[in-house]
Assembly symmetry: C2
Homo-oligomer: 357 residues x 2
């Protein structure tokens, strides 16, 4: 079993803390460690460190060198540019398949938070057993505890069966982020689960799916695989990545493939998709405020205030997010934090890129 941590995200939703050279996975958002360190640590329960891989972008090489991750340097694979998850997982697959033709990939984003490590471990082991037994594509579906509108959903065929005491189910369909009414009906039905972005399959099974549904990408990856360990590897990687299209594993593979399964994940999971998510997971004071760093709040409620080094003073407000980091202060209505990435786009359009770097 091989761990594959996807760490190529730019994390514009956590601007101004996240920047182009300091993506979300490098931030310590809830605890002391960075999200990538927590993720590597979590994998320690299920795979050897020499079997743990990280896929990231070449532009984040410096940031990785600064970390002291306990995995072999050659296990950090660099993509020349981001092409979404289908090629990213494909690149990991060709490396691992060459090393171990029967290798099983456990693919996970680097920047989510998970509690209950034991439950996580057991769920992954169940998924791996299922993937091997059925030659299937398995994903972890998180048991929803609220009608969340910020996640994609997976609908299962309710006739599940247990593997290692974990419900393993056939997937009926994938659903995009729903509106609130739809999310409520999803929650009530009991057949819908949050799409965690965690996938488990044999490298060879995944590559066969690519061959069928994304043949161009498959061909490119095969060419790359043939150059592993050769001097023209980098050049080939660069050329292929420039040619192939960017597409997600969900849209490009999972929604089309036949042999897809979901394993129920009952562990606590959050994709930390916005400052509001972080606020929800943070400890609050008696006014419902979560405060980090030097800040003074007066007549202020249900707000998230984080200051890197300066003082943030908030007076008479409710439901705001204030994040001071380096040379930027962001002030945002709590229920608009999903749109921080639009603010980042706006800054890019205004050529204020120095505040994004």
């Amino acid at each position: 079993m091989y761990g594959v941590i996807m760490a190529g995200g730019s994390g514009t939703r956590f601007w101004p803390r996240s920047r182009e050279t300091r993506a979300k996975q490098f931030l310590s958002i809830l605890g002391e460690n960075s999200l990538i360190e927590d993720t590597v640590e979590r994998f320690r329960f299920i795979v050897q460190k020499e079997d743990t891989y990280i896929i990231t972008k070449r532009s984040q090489e410096q940031a990785f060198r600064r970390l002291n991750l306990d995995i072999p340097r050659e296990n950090i694979l660099f993509e020349p540019m981001g092409k979404d998850t289908a090629p990213c997982i494909g690149l990991a697959a060709v490396h691992i398949q060459q090393r171990d033709p029967h290798g099983i990939l456990v693919v996970s984003p680097a920047d989510h938070t998970i509690k209950n490590d034991g439950l996580f471990q057991n769920t992954i082991l169940a998924a791996a057993e299922l993937a091997e037994r059925e030659n299937g594509m398995v994903t972890i579906g998180i048991v929803p505890d609220r009608p969340a509108t910020g996640y994609g959903y997976i609908q299962i065929d309710p006739s599940c069966s247990p593997t290692r005491n974990v419900d393993t189910c056939r997937i009926k369909t994938f659903a995009e982020k729903p509106d609130l009414a739809t999310a409520k009906s999803f929650l009530e039905s009991g057949d819908f689960f949050w799409n965690s972005g965690i996938f488990i399959f044999q490298a060879s099974v995944y590559l066969r799916q690519l061959e069928e549904y994304l043949p161009e990408i498959y061909d490119g990856l095969m060419e790359i695989q043939s150059r592993i360990g050769r001097s023209d590897y980098e050049e080939t990687l660069q050329r292929i990545y420039q040619q192939i299209r960017g597409i997600s594993i969900d849209f490009g593979v999972m929604e089309k493939a036949k042999n897809v399964y979901m394993v129920k994940g009952a562990f606590q999971w959050n994709d930390l998709g916005s400052w509001e998510q972080v606020f929800k997971l943070s400890q609050k004071d008696q006014n419902g405020n979560a405060v980090q760093g030097e800040a003074v709040l007066m007549d202020t409620k249900n707000s998230y205030v984080r200051s890197e080094k300066n003082l943030v003073a908030v007076l008479g407000l409710e439901g705001v997010v204030v994040v001071q980091e380096d040379d930027v202060t962001l002030v945002c209505r709590m229920d608009r934090t999903e749109d921080v990435k639009k603010m980042v786009d706006k800054l890019r359009n205004k050529k204020l890129t120095r505040y994004l770097e």
Copy 2:
């Protein structure tokens, strides 16, 4: 005629721009010049520069040295500590009276904004004529254009008479800051005017009032006057100021004195008492926002955003004030900017005084 500019305020209401060592009068809030520079400039129309005095606190000496005000250095009088306006004007009065026993004082705060300089000049000249003719205490009442609740009011006896084409009236009473309903009735009555804090009287007349209504302060000032130009002046000043109580000219003198007059000021005036006031006087964009410095606003309305050097990004808010200055960012609801001074008090109580200096 002598100009007396009271420049001892600490201006905590403009924190974080105003600090202990950089009071409101040293800030350029609306235009390019600081408020004190604008005030000195305005006095140029009515008195000679060698007849213009500034009264300030010893702690602001450095800040004054950095300015290049076109008045003689000996005309800057330092109080050892703030004791409100009655002693402050008294100190100016003893200095000026000694120089010119018939001198008329034109007393003005350093940190207000006034437009229509010609009208201002004519109003002051009318007030001075009246003060001399009646041996009276004269104040300028601003013709109100809205039911403001942030100002004290002056009620006049409506039988006014013109001096230099300006209405000069006897004062009936002084009213504290009213609630909105009261302010509306004030506006409708036509007999109520805003208390501008500008006073005109002979030095000798003012000192006679002090002798009657604030005899301790009067005695102290006489002692100080006897030491002017002597080596023990500073020591005496220090000792007297430690003894006397702090009290305003309005409460301590004007409300008690008999021979008090008001001259109608029809010029544009604003005491710049809060960030909200500054917002009201600022130019707005099509979303009703006033923005200074590096700031990007998205889906934000009717807000005041000022950044000294960093970037302030505001998303999805309405009616907020964001002021970034040096190592502080203040985020405040627009209608709570009067309470910024309470925030300053809170910081002082929390021993976060480094953000106030």
